[in-house]
């Protein structure tokens, strides 16, 4: 991870945390402080994006690294089941056909989450509990499910 990616990830993390705080705060002063914090984050991201665009133009190459990587590995359900977070394997889960890495996701301690275990397609459970919540965008996509 280069410095720019590190800063972008840090800013995204801070923004998610700020948004979480906005959901629960009732105090208008606190809300304004949090909104100002979001504006500052957006400003910082604009600067970083501009820098990235300048670098791409400077290098004039199609091989410039993307800030956001795209998933390209395919998993069968049997393959996915091996990524259960046990015995040295990373913890992956599938939602709506995309496979996500939850190995170091805080809500997946010991590769388990509210009775669910990693290595499975959890689309049904995700839809019933987290529909409309900005959760998947925080997870690193690592591949697609193939049938």
């Amino acid at each position: 991870m280069n410095d720019r990616e590190f800063y972008v990830n840090s800013i995204f993390k801070e923004m998610h945390s700020t948004i979480d705080s906005l959901y629960v705060t009732c105090n208008s002063c606190t809300k304004n402080t949090l909104l100002n914090s979001l504006r500052k984050n957006i400003s910082d991201l604009s600067v970083l994006l501009q820098g990235a665009q300048n670098d791409v133009q400077k290098n004039n190459t199609a091989n410039a690294p993307d800030i956001i990587s795209s998933p390209n590995k395919s998993f069968t359900r049997a393959e996915l089941s091996r990524y259960n977070g046990k015995n040295g394997n990373p913890a992956y889960v599938a939602v709506n056909g995309t496979v996500y890495d939850v190995t170091n996701n805080a809500a997946w301690a010991a590769a388990t989450h509210f009775g669910l275990t990693a290595g499975r397609d959890v689309t049904r459970e995700f839809t019933s509990c987290h529909s409309g919540q900005p959760i998947l965008s925080r997870l690193k996509a690592v591949g697609k499910i193939v049938t």
């Binding site: 046990k86 015995n87 010991a110 388990t112």
Partner: protein, 295 residues
């Protein structure tokens, strides 16, 4: 880490929330600005751990609550009356003003026959009947502890007596204070707020925001270890216990700040992972409590 945190106004204010509210309520009662209201404490299907926890309260303590803030009409663990006399005191409150605090889940199988809390006029009074009759008429209903809030351990698989949380049986709002047990501050602070101002601000699961607004993970003194990827490999390691199965990241309550037993310590402070006892779904959905072969 803790000594540094104590300078944070957020933490200092949170530590004082319950005592400030209780002192204000006591002052208001003393100055006749508000009435001393009746409190009924029902112990249903559980372990009585919440009343034990309440008795362990310090600043504010239980004595202040019982003598200066409310009139405790019924609590089977604490009251002098027993048998028919006690049940008469309980059912005499029907139609009057009272706040109902409930600990323990409600057994529903076979009409609630698996938890009889007393006999009145020759009839067995089940927990199920008590909550149905006293719950709808209360000014406020407070579910104290995880069993009353969501079924908790009493409703754990295979749940042979078909226990449920109080809310499942009442067509009214139930303020929920999950925790196994409920911290004395959470109950006394909520009760004092009700006496002073009415219903406190609640989250979407009816938990008071003043106590349940932040994740344990977000206030954990070991959070920096999580950010740096420094994880405990066994109990006793003084780093982040995420890989051992710590449920702090999904449990919303203020244990890291408030601590327990006169604010001496709390589970993670004593090298034990959070097992999510204050989270809905505990214990079944918080398992495994400890895990050693994770990546």
């Amino acid at each position: 880490m803790n000594e540094k945190n104590i300078n944070c106004p957020n933490i200092t204010m949170r530590l004082e929330t319950a005592s400030v509210l209780v002192n204000k309520a006591i002052d208001a009662v003393t100055m006749n600005k508000i009435q001393k209201r009746n409190l009924i404490w029902l112990e249903l299907t559980g372990c009585s751990g919440n009343i034990i926890s309440l008795l362990d309260g310090a600043d504010p303590d239980f004595k202040s609550l019982a003598t200066q803030m409310v009139k405790i009409v019924y609590d089977n663990s604490l009251m002098a009356a027993e048998g028919e006399f006690a049940m008469e005191k309980l059912f005499n409150m029907l139609g009057k003003d009272y706040i109902l605090a409930v600990e323990g889940a409600v057994s529903t199988k076979d009409g609630g026959l698996y938890n009889v809390i007393g006999r009145f006029k020759g009839e067995s009074i089940t927990a199920y009947r008590a909550i149905k009759e006293l719950g709808e008429g209360a000014a406020y209903v407070i579910a104290v502890g995880t069993c009353a809030s969501d079924g908790g351990i009493s409703a754990a698989r295979p749940n042979p007596s078909k226990c449920v949380g109080v809310q499942d049986l009442l067509n009214r709002k139930v303020i929920k204070l999950p925790g196994c047990p409920c911290h004395p501050d959470w109950f006394m602070g909520t009760l004092a707020y009700i006496l002073l101002f009415g219903e406190p601000a609640l989250d979407e699961r009816a938990r008071p925001l003043m106590f349940y607004s932040t994740l344990i993970h977000d206030c954990c003194p070991r959070h920096p270890f999580f950010e740096q990827g420094v994880f405990a490999e066994k109990l006793g390691d003084e780093t982040c216990m995420f890989k051992l199965g710590c449920r702090g990241p999904v449990t919303r309550v203020d244990c890291p700040i408030r601590k327990w037993n006169d604010r001496v310590n709390w589970p993670i402070g004593d090298n034990s992972p959070c097992i999510g006892c204050a989270m809905f779904g505990f214990p079944d959905k918080m398992k495994p409590f400890i895990s050693y072969n994770t990546t």
